[in-house]
Assembly symmetry: C2
Homo-oligomer: 328 residues x 2
Amino acid sequence: MKITMAHGSGGRSTSELIGSIFGKYFSNPVLDKMEDASVVEGSGRIAITTDSFVVTPLFFPGGNIGRLSVCGTVNDLLMSGAVPKYITFGVILEEGCDTEDLEKIVASAAETAKEAGVIVVAGDTKVVEGNGGMYINTTGVGFVPEGMDVSASNCQAGDVILVSGHLGDHHAAILSTRMEISNSIESDNAPLREMVDAMKAAGVRLHAMRDVTRGGLGTVLHEFAQSSKACMEIREKDLPVSPEVKGFCGLLGLDPLYMGNEGKMLAVVPAEDAETALSCMKNSRYGENAGIIGEVSHEKDGSVLCHTPIGGVRIVSELIGEGLPRIC
Amino acid sequence: MKITMAHGSGGRSTSELIGSIFGKYFSNPVLDKMEDASVVEGSGRIAITTDSFVVTPLFFPGGNIGRLSVCGTVNDLLMSGAVPKYITFGVILEEGCDTEDLEKIVASAAETAKEAGVIVVAGDTKVVEGNGGMYINTTGVGFVPEGMDVSASNCQAGDVILVSGHLGDHHAAILSTRMEISNSIESDNAPLREMVDAMKAAGVRLHAMRDVTRGGLGTVLHEFAQSSKACMEIREKDLPVSPEVKGFCGLLGLDPLYMGNEGKMLAVVPAEDAETALSCMKNSRYGENAGIIGEVSHEKDGSVLCHTPIGGVRIVSELIGEGLPRIC
């Protein structure tokens, strides 16, 4: 069935659409009450984040806009040190959107929410003119444990920098699809709950965390260097990049340091906690290619330095120009 | 300046747009930290609601999509009995959107948030292909006071039904604009914080509250009747409708009972609290035309009855067919 303007008019078609697709997959005691605002258990400190997703195409190798929309918001909550609890799901459908596609996307979002340990507590559906596209907004609420203080400004000289896996996968997958290049590259879109929970449970002192999204690792390192007034030193040879993405980047002249992921994170921890953090990452889902990539110093505060395999040092500049649009 | 895809690519143009427009109007100590997730004070019970706004045109008599997007979400929080605290603001801009219009819309949203007593704690901006349009998602978080229990299922026989003002204004304003009918009708888009706070402060026992939006008063009364397994009896002569909207409806054969508002509410309270509730509404901003319109009974459970001026009684049927699309 194709979506028509009637599905967005608030009448019977809207109710039927909500019941048959959203209700079916997102069902839980809170959402099922169908109140205009859901009342849920709170916490002394809460984290809030919002993100809209406009990726094209809606389906890409390794994922889709539904899975992506849950991962993006859950990961933002996790990186603040919060325990993700609730998520809202607002969908804007363009006329002509296929309800079979919508159902696949909603089913995938529901599965990802379950994996990430969040429940959908509120939703909204609107329909607009267009060509069958779809936009999703997810807003997340998490509980921040007592004493948790993770911040981009907490990186300290001597701290160790870890990354949880291969760089550039999501960006390369989207770009390959758009350019109709056939390869085996898949998006890494994934919720990072398991690895963050594991590090917390192991007592790793998490100074700073950030998921590597639009702008890539280089952009995150710059933000950390500037917020912490420290120097982020990384080793080029230790940057994890899959052979497929390395080849793809070589071909197109792209630098994996600036390419977006949707299921990778950077963690900055005290040196004595680094091995524990690494083993937590490696033993978690999506973390098998995690690695230690460098250290924090005061070599050149506010900057990112990269040690090359032949013994040189180059300054990693801020992202110049524009990234790829509609990647997330 | 016109919005281009570069404004959504995550690079410098995006930062400049965010700084020069969103940062300028939404600035507060939480948002200014520019974290991916904001950590804020919480509460034992919280209310969460989400809504996307796709109204056309973006500017209409009496308001715009920015003001509307804050009112809609704040009012949903208020109706659950929560004290609105935080709001998120996710914008999807179509290429060609005018930044002067965007600035007016953001300024209006910021002013409305201030009036409603909420702060913007998270935001997001994306750009898509299109014709200069705009979509806004707002998600609201409020604190639910101890003992507060407002629900559509709490209406009790003997309770009195109040409505806070003229019906149908928003719907009639949007429709007039689209049909290029020149009249003095303005949208009522407004945050209802002042009147709800006043009723709470006066100790009014609020059994049920609901803002009258898409579907109109008739739809809200039906939901109350069915959730509470009671009968909602209203008097036609007491329904507040402005002469302009009454004339407009007569001309087009519309029934104000099913027309959407964006700044009106229904309250169901015990009979002994009705006069207090009415005076709270009338003395609050946007409540000068409030009135008592009927009572809850067990005359015909699950139904809505309307007493006509000539002494008859008609059953108010559920909304048949579809409402007006893209009204909110």
